[in-house]
Amino acid sequence: SAKDPFSEECKIHEYPPSGPTYKGNVPKYIINLDLPPSERWVKLVTDKKAELKIMIFSLKGMLKALIHNKKYMAALENKLAWLGTTLPYPFDEEIKGIASAADIPLGDIVVFNIFYEIFTV
């Protein structure tokens, strides 16, 4: 049988993480479920606002390459914002709170949150 060109021998000394395959730790946050849903993610999203905007800008750029017409794009964004209002509680309120804290259109945050459903084809 053919050997996968990228396969390698099993690694044995990778932990604790270091070296070229390790890019760093992730920051820790507390989400207080006692807060109203729209306020739960504010601190986290405020800290990550710039990174979130970069990622969403990339995704929209890819979408714009497929849909050149600005009118269609605006209609799609409106539709996605409407979709956000149909999501179940408390997720709808949390998503609205994230969009507001990050200063990103609601439709863009909705599409990020339903990635899974879109990409299972």
């Binding site: 996968d4 890019k23 507390i30 479920l33 979709l83 899974y116 879109i118």
Partner: protein, 253 residues
């Protein structure tokens, strides 16, 4: 994605996953990486969800994403979600939702709901097996006691398979990539066999979170789509997440 649940010789359970995402979503020639994969890395966070100042569950998550893809409920269960591709995919569920048929769960909202509200491995399993979904999925569930681990293969409306740990039959680990266990993986995306080979080499008596991290660090289990590696341990509600990179030569998926 690659998820692993394993049991050591004392009956202790370990759960870990590589989060792979961003296939065909732009290629960054300069950095030899998928654009969205690269941009998701700074969004990874470790979150402790609390009520009355007490931990309800912990997760490894993306900032701005309210659903859950990996999490642990201390003293109860651990859960990861892997994408399952199907012609009867999530876009159909999405369409049904738009036209008003709203009786299914959005995938990551269900996993969040399970982590928040279920109180035991069996409770979580029951919910994941019996809920109607908008998209197909693999749920990888780990528990506290020996034998409490399974992979649930779901279509949108039915549970197609529940594959449990069974150390008496020699099944001391389960590996899920993005393929049904009764089918061969796609020939250009076989991460399952390399992961199994490394777990077999590790052997049950040596299994631990560090040795599972070794397995998840071996190419092509680690690949250009890998955003992070998360290690979960139920008994003390432990979760650790590391951002990953896969320098060339490395499989693009």
């Amino acid at each position: 994605c690659t998820s692993i649940v394993a049991e050591d010789t004392t009956g202790k359970l370990y759960h870990a996953r590589n989060l792979d995402f961003g296939l065909f979503l732009g290629w960054d020639i300069k950095n030899s990486s998928w654009t969205v994969t690269k941009e998701l890395k700074p969004l990874m966070v470790s979150v402790d969800f609390q009520r009355n100042n007490k931990t309800v569950f912990k997760s490894s998550n993306l900032a701005g994403y309210v659903g859950m893809i990996s999490g642990v409920k201390p003293g109860a269960f651990s859960l990861t979600l892997n994408e399952r591709f199907s012609v009867d995919g999530g876009y159909i569920g999405l369409f049904e939702w738009i036209v008003g048929q709203r009786d299914g769960w959005w995938m990551s909202f269900l996993t969040r709901n399970v982590l928040e509200n279920c109180t035991s491995y069996e409770d979580a399993k029951d919910r994941l097996v019996n809920s109607k979904l908008l998209a197909p999925a693999y749920f990888i569930l780990g528990g506290m006691k020996s034998g409490e681990g399974c992979i649930i293969t779901r279509s949108r409306s039915a549970t197609l398979d529940i594959w449990p740990l069974d150390t008496k039959k020699g099944i001391w680990y389960l590996v899920e990539t993005n393929y049904d266990r009764w089918k061969d993986p796609f020939v250009l995306d076989n991460r399952r066999d390399p992961a199994m080979k490394c777990l077999n080499q590790t052997m049950q008596e040596n299994i631990s979170l560090p040795t599972i991290y070794n397995v998840l660090s071996t190419k092509p289990v680690l690949n250009k789509l890998t955003v992070s590696t998360t290690l979960l341990e139920v008994s003390d509600g432990h979760i650790e997440t590391y951002l990953r990179d896969c320098p060339d030569p490395c499989s693009p998926w």
